[in-house]
């Protein structure tokens, strides 16, 4: 591989990283478990509370947990939960889904979001 090709790859990687905070941040599930305590005012992994349960979160269309009364905004959001959509949502739930019942300002720190998502990937299987 020529030096130009290597440089091109590096630049490409930087562009991808800039476009996605998740792809650059390695989440630590142990730290994420501690951050998840913030969520436990309203959420649980395995039962609906003020917010819906998180079990089975990844790959699930938003607004579809049985037995939970969602806002129309969430039911009609068209979101499917993934690392990317969660990262965006957690930055500002009511910015991404105006009208959601989730009245929480969000998790502004990208690393904390990555940690939280890493934990959720393990805990919600």
């Amino acid at each position: 591989m020529t030096a130009r090709a290597v440089l091109s790859c590096l630049l490409g990687a930087i562009v991808i990283c800039a476009a996605s905070t998740i792809s650059c941040a390695d989440g630590d599930p142990a730290k994420g478990e501690q951050i998840y305590k913030r969520c436990q005012g309203c959420h649980s992994i395995d039962r609906n509370r003020i917010g819906p349960m998180h079990k089975g979160l990844f790959g699930r269309p938003a607004g579809t947990v049985p037995g939970f009364a969602y806002s129309d905004a969430m039911k009609n959001s068209g979101i499917v939960w993934s690392e990317e959509t969660l990262d965006q949502f957690l930055q500002g739930p009511r910015k991404m889904v105006p009208g959601t019942k989730m009245t929480y300002a969000g998790v502004p720190d990208a690393q904390e979001r990555a940690d939280l998502i890493a934990y959720l990937k393990q805990a919600t299987k």
Binding site: I35, K37, R38, C39, Q40, G41, C42, R47, N48, R49, I50, R94, K101, T103, Y104, A105, G106
Partner: protein, 197 residues
């Protein structure tokens, strides 16, 4: 390790709690915040319909939390696992949550909203099968209080009405005291962080 508060400690904690809530004659909640949560108009700037709806949504989330807290303490009180001194403390905390809920209902109603209703015990589906002793109950309650602190902390910045934000902060303080006292009863080291999240 479970460190049970003594009878005199419980009495002092309850007296302190009353002093904090009433301010010993000096209102801790601002007059405007009390007015808002009591259902009277505060002196904040007029809100748009969208802002009011957003604030009502936040208050209803808070109300749902308070109802859950009331039900959780009820479940704990009826578990038969709490010693008398701890039971008295739990009932005192439950009373705080009832006062929060009552104020939130009035505020929501005064703003033209519809307060959420408490769920049934079956709907709350508390993990009672995992509560085998007093320590388990206290840990469960402490977890709910910690979560409530985070929930209020995360919701307060979203209030369009600053009086409501102040009132929410006042309730957050109450939840934080509950959490700290429950941790103390459990013998948990006090938090060493300067900021809660």
């Amino acid at each position: 390790m479970l460190i049970l508060p003594s009878k005199s400690t419980i009495q002092e904690l309850n007296a302190s709690r009353r002093r904090i809530l009433t301010g010993g004659g000096k209102a801790v909640l601002s007059a405007a915040a009390i007015a808002m949560l009591a259902g009277c108009k505060g002196n904040s700037m007029a809100q748009t319909n969208d802002q009011s709806k957003g604030d009502i949504d936040i208050l209803n989330t808070a109300l749902g939390l308070e109802y859950e807290g009331i039900a959780a303490y009820q479940a704990g009180a009826e578990s038969g696992l709490l010693q008398p001194a701890v039971l008295k403390l739990a009932v005192g905390f439950q009373s705080d949550h009832k006062q929060h809920a009552e104020a939130l209902v009035k505020a929501i109603t005064s703003m033209g909203g519809t307060p959420v209703q408490p769920k049934t015990a079956a709907e709350y589906n508390f993990p009672t099968s995992t509560l085998h002793n007093q320590t388990d109950v206290l840990k469960f309650a402490a977890g709910l209080e910690q979560g409530a602190v985070s929930a209020y902390k995360g919701a307060i910045p979203l209030f369009a009405n600053r009086d409501l934000a102040g009132a929410g902060a006042s309730i957050l303080g109450s939840e934080a005291m509950h959490w700290a006292i429950l941790n103390s009863a459990l013998g948990v080291e006090p938090p060493t962080v300067a900021f809660v999240s």
